[in-house]
Symmetry: C2
Subunit: 434 residues, 2 copies
């Protein structure tokens, strides 16, 4: 069969990983496809034909991405520059020029993926985006085709490797958040500005995308309630262990008769749940279907080569589609018409809760707090008190039975005015059924 | 787009699960495809049009599978009867009649899948087989397309739910193998004749299939060295725990410069490896690629509905291929030319080993055994001895450093003639790198 020619735009980490695989692994790729993938054009601000890997001798090397799209041989363009301004121009120009597109761009797809796909469909070209979420785990393909017959009820993810690395370190070494973050930055696991990772915004874009594949919804990331891991302290892991749990930054999407609940937030999960075995800079997705029950997918969340595998596997898939004449074989979202959806207010969701207080110890604290909980019709499950350390800043925990987040928020609001409270209470949901 | 009409042959567990999903979940399936899947013919020895689920009123119900294949509307036939005689007739007849085929038949595909796929390709029809291995985990699609760009180096699987259930029970409850097996049979987790499950033959067929997708090889199941879980006793879990490990029936395939090693056997795996978190009747696959590093996939191994998800997801995939005009878009094995391959003799593979002895205790036993190990140039790592129970049948363990299985086998052969040996020694490899 005729070779398929590719254009690569962007030679950062992901572009470099993708080119490495396309050249080093070219012969096995051809054995799988029955034809070759040939890189015909590369756009980079820094590379020259001399700095590219061997096997790319004939490729056009340019600083202008328009040259890649205009290259007459190029049938599929890989957009690997990131961001949402130039990247959008690149994707739209490629589609307009009748080229299929593979992108690793989470933000762009989370914001405008459905619109871009409609442009592609109108032009009879293909759009693929496996690398945009959980680079190392082929979870798009799983949701889009692998378990397409199932009707998903819930999806849980650990979608940010930096946060998971930090939480794992706090848990294992009993270290404080700020110390672990500084060490992660020194090791290159966290960015100089860590906000997107540790405050949950990166995970939020990924959850929006996975929810579209899982439930056929089109979510705006900003509509997903999001909180990060800054308030988590070593003592929280010790208290969580007392109830058989650990703590992870959990991305959740749950389809209920009332609608879709979605959230990104630190949560307690049972230690013997398979999601709890995700440690360090790994990502994982756990899904529960009405028919297939629970399945679980795990791998590296990022890195040039794992993400490169996702990009090149997408290039192979689109090349197969093109050579077999299957334009528009499947929506990149699995569903033909993802429906714009606002998640239900997360405060309506029912959960058991872990409430951690820091107080200036004196008699009557439990009485005061339990009176407020009773007033809001919240049932106490357990009061947990580790051996005392500092009575002026004493952490202790109350776990409460299943109730709505709204009810808990109102009780905590009332509690935060109490004179013995050193800082506002921390409330973490206990994710059930994992 | 025009509906795709299906014929279902066989209404056992898998057929019933598939029909349930096709009827109950029909509207979401149509939302994903953009057209409907319509069951037009069903072959069953027992069903009548009155006992079928609602929504199948118009379907032909017949006891003769030839009627299903001959039905003029039917474009895809699902072969769900199992076995290798009639099932092969069904698949070959469907292909000859120009119908595409979905099968859940592990034995048939492991024996003759490549030949059947060549017949299908010659006829311009499609063949799909996701349900044949790990029904609940879409691992075929992952290996065939999801991580197709990677070059796999190793694949480990827990592929038999019955064995894993039995081992988990021995571990958790310190029960003897025979008692757990009897209980598993009572609960329906094990068959009256459990040989295929507990002696590793079921897992062996599955490993042969996964290896073809992972490495592009065509293995004959009988060529894969296989041993089962009958010799595993509660004390083995206690000794394994002393070196930070647990025991699972591990299916392994490893691509090395010397060739492909493949085996099904009980093995030690580190307790903190994610594969060790697979408990009960679940299946899992762990793969290591040259680029994507390690990924892991987990779910129910069997059951009408999980396997039904695999069958119906395959039906959806082939229906998409048919409607988009993509005949032969991708080999069901991922590689276009799986190469007939004999695995390397497993005795050449280098591993660290766990050697468990049962002896009639007397002075000089360690001296005798360590002399034999030294003679075979095998280095002892540790000698483990739990508190003694019965000195006439005393279990103890020697772990040895990495060496070939052949060398260990020769040493054990020599040891088994020693007068203090109550039964032949048990050797379990320690699987590295998980």
């Amino acid at each position: 069969m005729r070779d398929v020619h590719l254009g690569i735009i962007g030679l950062g980490n992901v572009g470099t990983g993708s080119l490495t695989i396309l050249t080093e692994n070219a012969s096995q790729i051809a054995q799988k496809l029955g034809f070759r993938l040939v890189v015909s054009a590369v756009c980079s601000r820094t590379a020259t034909s001399k700095t590219l890997p061997a096997g790319l001798d004939g490729a056009l090397v340019t600083e202008d991405w328009r040259d890649v799209i205009a290259h007459p041989d190029v049938e599929i363009v890989a957009e690997l520059i990131g961001g949402t301004t130039v990247a959008r121009e690149v994707v739209e120009a490629a589609i307009a020029a009748g080229k299929s597109v593979v992108t690793a761009n989470k933000e762009l797809i989370a914001l405008d993926g459905v619109a871009l796909w409609r442009q592609a469909a109108a032009q009879g070209v293909l759009l693929a985006m496996e690398a945009s979420v959980c680079g190392g785990i082929p979870v798009h393909g799983v949701l889009r085709e692998g378990i397409a017959a199932d009707r998903l009820e819930a999806l849980y993810g650990i979608l940010n490797g930096t946060s998971n690395y930090i939480l794992s370190e706090i848990e294992q070494n009993n270290s404080e958040f700020n110390a672990v973050l500084a060490e992660a930055q020194r090791l290159g696991y966290a960015e100089a500005d860590p906000t997107a990772d540790i405050d949950g915004f990166d995970a939020r874009s990924k959850l929006a995308l996975l929810a579209s594949l899982a439930f056929g919804v089109q979510l705006t990331p900003a509509d997903i309630p999001t909180s990060g891991i800054r308030p988590i302290t070593p003592v929280d892991f010790r208290y969580a262990a007392q109830v058989g749990c650990t703590i992870r930054l959990v991305c959740s999407a749950e389809s209920t008769p009332e609608g879709l609940f979605a959230a990104v937030r630190p949560a307690l999960i049972p230690k013997d749940a398979i999601l709890a075995s995700v440690r360090g800079a790994y990502n994982a997705v756990w899904a529960r279907g009405a028919y297939g029950a629970d399945t679980f997918y795990y791998g590296k969340g990022a890195g040039p080569n794992p993400t490169g595998v996702a990009v090149v596997s997408d290039l192979m898939r689109l090349a197969r589609d093109l050579r077999s004449g299957a334009a528009g074989r499947v929506s990149p979202f699995g569903f033909t018409e993802p429906a714009p959806t606002r998640p239900r207010p997360i405060g309506e969701q029912q959960r058991a809760w872990y409430l951690r207080f820091r107080v200036h110890d004196r008699p009557g604290i439990i009485a005061a707090l339990s009176a407020i909980l009773a007033e809001h019709e919240i049932s106490i499950d357990a009061v947990l008190q580790l051996p005392k350390e500092d009575w002026r800043n004493l952490p202790f925990v109350i776990t409460v039975e299943t109730t709505s987040g709204d009810r808990v928020a109102r009780a905590l609001e009332q509690m935060s005015g109490l004179d013995f409270m050193v800082e506002p209470p921390l409330a973490l949901p206990l994710e059930p059924g994992l």
